[in-house]
Symmetry: C2
Subunit: 486 residues, 2 copies
């Protein structure tokens, strides 16, 4: 067969250039430039501000542009990124970052993704890359082990906790309800992450079937109130089927009484999902294990390696006590994909969740855990818990600070409550405390609403946050309190 | 306030070590080693096999291990990866890879993820990193422009096409149906990707409400049959609401008559979603634009930058003609997240989809498009279409090959049909053709089932696949055909 009809290099000049295929020299040069910028950026991190969003809106507007028809030199793109775009943001990777819930971003993961992207194998099906799928399988099994799950448990990696909560909700729906599921009722607490409600709505449940159960003094779900709600719903002809417990809330790190929830769910035949996006990995520590007692009895658990294992954003996980549930809930066959037998000892992650093609997330977890072993992670998590505990002790001694939420894991919340200041004025005062602390730029905190009133949170989680950063934080809080109450 | 209760470096030795915080020297050394392995791997790619899974199952088994308690040197981990795990797989990044639907994996994306991971900013909300969110916003707007979408369109980046199809299905459900949606009916063709059915099931639709409409000669949906099905469903009291058209099927690259579908959907007030995971970006080319006529009339489009823009796995996108639909379908408020006004000119991606925390996907698209401009992408896509066209011409001349699917974009399917061979024997013969071709190791193809019979596919898509690789492919097919028909 002649291939004379194929375009050749000679007679088809438009295909002669191959600019997307960088030469080795080009690649080396780009790595060199990128590495220098990244490492300089990381070196400067501790001395730079924990947040730098002044003028960021304007810079963002300047960056909006139509589809580029022209090429631009790589170093100019790096200028844009490192001198302009990246630095004008909230510095989630900063050692003073104790806002929201951030792991910091281990450098190892950057190397792992560099490898995964450049080599670009496909890990959604076992047959395409068995050894790489085995690496990701290991990671999932390690997570199950960390949670105290038994043999037969399994799970999958996701982009983050919200996606894990969505997949958990859909899986519970498919396992426990018929296709006519609109009477199904889901129970969360008033402290649950909004992704739980969002997941329920996206999974198809009417919003009126999502119950927000009140919490008690320590922001833990009121199990008696939950039980009453379940009874009332059953009496009304509804189908209670899913309870979402908190293994560390975003607001205050509160851990629901998971054993009591597991008892109730066993009695009532309800699926118990634990949202451990923030808190799950504290199960690696002795104190955390005590706080999280009952976690291993939950039917499913969301954990976020990009929180509790300090990875950069982009890696969550959903774990299932009965690993087979995911395959049952998601399996669909297709002509162009070889059949998969769930009992074969192989794993087709694409048949365990909604994603087919996606990034190789396992490597970014595997690499740091293999390089260091699990001990440094365990020690770092214990350090964060202890720092939160001691920071609380210090704040307790500071007038007129009230601790609104004691740390159950590594998050606490407080409020400045000078006598005579109440209502909206109290909110404004505490918002000013937060602003004053953040304006100093050494640390970055965030606020939330607790019992209807604004409170300031400290979440000690990033692997970069140590004793000296918490000391800075306390110093800046003291100064801010003094400023707003003078 | 004394911070004497805080652990100090001196009195709390367990927190003295900080192994997770690599020194600059450690980081430099790790980058150096990683770079060398990756670049050597890429250099060897063209001369290595397009697939190398012999013994891969055993290697995978050897890699399964319990949670690592010990540390391991980085170079040994790289040995495991580069000498064992990565190379024993199907080489999706190989210039001879024309199986399934793979973009190859631009090296640029590895640098982008390296930057994104190491700097670890949060791009789910505008206020956290305005300029980085602007970069991702640009990317989404560029995609809308590429599809011919008008002002007011918008979208979001996903992990891949399956997730985009799921979000599209949920959004259409929320836009077009009430919370009592179980009578809603979804129409796909018998050539649609299985993720469409999976998305419908996960989004809560009873499986009996998912219609697989037959396709005609060129594997395009039979629009008359679709219209009849819609009428029949309405007559039966069902609620037709969503049609999923194909803008390039996975099987053969078939493009449904999107204009006819748009006409029908307008008349019947149905949401029209186009699955352009494989085909969408061919709209960048003149020929592709003609093939995809009507794409800009679809209510939503799935595209996969990790296919048509040659990125490594992990980047899909969902585009909406009415950009506001995503916010309406997904917005949920939370105490700890500042409110977002969709009309503010800012973008909170976390309020447009199911994900809150996730990776910064925009950078891996932005970097190569800014570096090269869009032209090399346009030229590469035109090259792929032309190569598929000419390969088909060559195969047509090869006895006893029958072209089962002419390339509408850059995918074709063929079958070897010696006279007298029919039924299962014909399937076996063509499976042997596929095995023989792949066994030679220069190219990698995949098979599928068309009209109930096995067929061999060629999908010319990776940026690394050029004239010489297609010539290799044709040579190996000729040899395989000669072998199995002798």
């Amino acid at each position: 067969m002649a291939d004379s009809t194929l375009p050749s290099d000679g007679d088809d000049r438009s295909f002669g250039d191959r600019p997307l295929e960088l030469t080795r020299t080009e690649k080396e040069e780009m790595v060199r430039e990128t590495e220098a910028r990244v490492l300089d950026h990381l070196d400067r991190l501790p001395d730079g501000p924990a947040s730098n969003v002044d003028g960021a809106h304007e810079r963002a507007d300047e960056l909006r542009e139509p589809l580029p028809e022209e090429s631009m030199p790589y170093d100019e793109l790096l200028d844009t990124l490192f001198e302009d775009a990246i630095v004008h943001s909230i510095t989630n990777s900063h050692p003073g970052y104790m806002a929201y819930t951030a792991g910091g971003g281990l450098f190892h993961a950057a190397l792992a993704d560099f490898i995964a992207d450049a080599t670009n194998r496909y890990v959604g099906t076992w047959f395409a890359a068995p050894a790489l799928v085995a690496i990701e399988t290991n990671v999932v099994e390690w997570f199950c082990e960390m949670m105290g799950y038994p043999d037969g448990s399994f799970g999958l990696l996701t982009s983050g906790g919200s996606m894990a909560n969505l997949i958990a909700t859909i899986t519970a729906r498919r396992e426990r309800l018929s296709e006519d599921f609109l009477d199904g009722v889901i129970y969360t607490s008033d402290q649950s992450h909004h992704s739980v409600t969002k997941a329920a709505v996206l999974a198809g449940f009417p919003s009126e079937n999502i119950r927000s159960i009140p919490t008690g003094d320590e922001f833990r779900i009121d199990v008696d109130a939950l039980e009453s709600a379940v009874e009332a719903d059953r009496a009304a002809g509804k189908e209670p089927f899913l309870v979402v417990g908190n293994a560390g809330t975003t607001n205050t790190g509160a851990v629901d009484d998971l054993d009591a929830l597991a008892d109730l769910c066993e009695r009532e035949s309800l699926w118990l999902h634990a949202d451990g996006a923030y808190g799950g990995f504290f199960a690696l520590t002795e104190t955390g294990k005590t706080q999280l007692a009952g976690l291993d009895r939950c039917d499913s658990i969301t954990v976020d390696p990009h929180k509790g294992l300090f990875l950069p954003y982009g890696t969550g996980a959903l774990l299932m006590r009965d690993g087979g549930a995911l395959a049952r809930a998601h399996a669909v066959e297709a002509d162009y994909i070889p059949d998969w037998d769930p009992d074969s000892g192989t794993v087709d992650f694409s048949q365990l969740g909604p994603e087919l093609s996606r990034d190789f997330r396992g490597l970014r977890v595997w690499l740091p855990l293999k390089l260091h072993g699990v001990d440094p992670f365990r020690a770092a998590l214990a350090e964060k818990m202890e720092l939160a505990e001691r920071a609380t002790d210090c704040l307790r001694d500071l007038e007129p600070v009230e601790i609104v939420a004691e740390p159950q894991l590594s998050t606490l919340a407080f409020r400045v409550e000078p006598s005579g200041v109440e209502g909206d004025a109290l909110d404004e005062l505490n918002e000013r405390v937060l602003e004053e602390v953040n304006a100093r730029g050494r640390v970055h905190l965030s606020g939330t609403t607790l019992d209807g009133r604004f409170a300031v949170r400290i979440c000690v989680l990033s692997f970069r946050v140590h004793r000296e950063n918490v000391a800075d934080c306390l110093e800046d809080i003291e100064a801010a309190v003094s400023e707003v109450t003078k």
